[in-house]
Symmetry: C2
Subunit: 222 residues, 2 copies
DNA sequence: TGGTTTTTTTACCGCTTGGTAAATTTAGAC
DNA sequence: GTCTAAATTTACCAAGCGGTAAAAAAACCA
């Protein structure tokens, strides 16, 4: 017998029907990690519908039924990945210090986002895929988590502008542009590679973005 | 009998095995357009593998076998869309006039790209999907068509910079950033909508980008 | 070591997918 | 109207899909 999978991660609320045992074994942790790792590869490159459990099985070295022993289905794997992603994804924005030097804080935010695109390109593509398809599995999450954070950050930036510490700009669209320009290097990596095969590309990108946002945000008197 | 579809569009070179008749009938033109229209909807939202012929059939009002009478397969529909897209997609860059006023030319390019994201969001997402998945059906096209155009444009921009008409910037990454910021409004529309539901969003975006690139590119003496 | 639980495999299933063959209907030329 | 070619429908596959049942194997614990 014993047909019950160990279900969702303990810290999260238990949406599945399983017994939700609290202490995942060594094997469970290892195999769940293997599955998520392989799934990230597949989902980020093929999109949700394009990804298959067989691909994930092959990538993780486990059999398909074995994967379904650890996750209740394809969708649960995907949702787990997205939830894990969001925490890491929003971290750079949470690190913006309202008490810090405005221009420096924002330039460091840009640098952190760019670094994330380099270190976690698959996560960036996974996220892009989800949004591109209308965020069918993350819409509520965007409203509940992302929106308040962006609202707060926009207020902080507007405060800096009102205090004359930054040149006037629309805060929300500033944020959009930072996301767009940094994530572009991960999401459109193939295209970027074709057009700039230079080995110093990373450094050039960093310097360019620093210049871009310095010139945009630096207040009047230099 | 008469089992042969009319195959590819006449202007393009004939890659299919069909008889490739030169004069598409009224019905052929109408139905191929219907199919491509529906396919654009589906492919742009679901990605290549996520899209199904049944969805395209439903969207176009034709039966699935009838669709395969006009196109030799799912992939041919997709490739046809991508080829049609690329022409329209690169047009704004081709319109940059090397003889024009540099800053004005680039700001108008940004405005045109932004307008394209508004007028053709599905095309933008179709393209994004293709690149995101590693450009499996467009890699050669990028090399052959996109790269030369970008190379030329980069030379023009560098010329402007060397002549002191623009503040110094890396031309290629400038282009990347223009693509990223403008296409972001189409590709991440769901996210943008959640974070900025304002009805004046379009105008705000346009003003923001104008400010962004004016401050980046305006040469020293204002 | 023996018994129990967890983990993995084997063998499936029903459904959807892209695609085909051939018959049927429709449109166009005379 | 009639003949012919183009267009469409009907009836199908074979393969791949997510998922399941149950037996076998491995790990754990005493």
């Amino acid at each position: 017998m014993a047909q019950r999978p160990p279900s969702e991660t303990p810290p999260t609320d238990d949406t599945s029907d399983g017994p939700a045992q609290a202490k995942p074994s060594r094997i469970q942790k290892r195999n769940r990690a293997l599955i998520l790792e392989a799934a990230l590869d597949v989902f980020s490159q093929e999109g949700y519908r394009g990804a298959t459990l067989d691909q994930i099985a092959q990538g993780s070295g486990l059999s398909k039924p074995n994967i379904l022993y650890y996750f209740n289905g394809k969708e649960e794997i995907h949702v787990t990945l997205l939830n894990q992603l969001m925490d890491r994804w929003l971290d750079p924005m949470r690190q913006i210090d309202p008490q810090g030097e405005p221009l420096e804080e924002l330039l460091r935010y840009v640098a952190r986002k760019l670094q994330m695109s380099r270190d976690y390109p698959r996560e960036s593509r996974l996220f892009a895929n989800e949004i591109l398809q209308g965020a069918p599995r993350m819409g509520p999450h965007l409203e509940a988590v992302l929106k308040p954070l962006v609202d707060d950050t926009a207020v902080v930036i507007q405060g800096w502008i009102d205090a004359g510490k930054l040149a006037p700009t629309e805060p929300r669209h500033l944020i959009f542009s930072i996301w767009a320009t940094t994530q572009h290097y991960a999401d459109f990596e193939v295209q970027v590679s074709v057009l700039d095969g230079s080995p110093t590309r990373d450094a050039t990108a960093e310097a360019f973005l620093r210049t871009l946002y310095t010139r945009l945000l630096r207040p009047e008197g230099r």
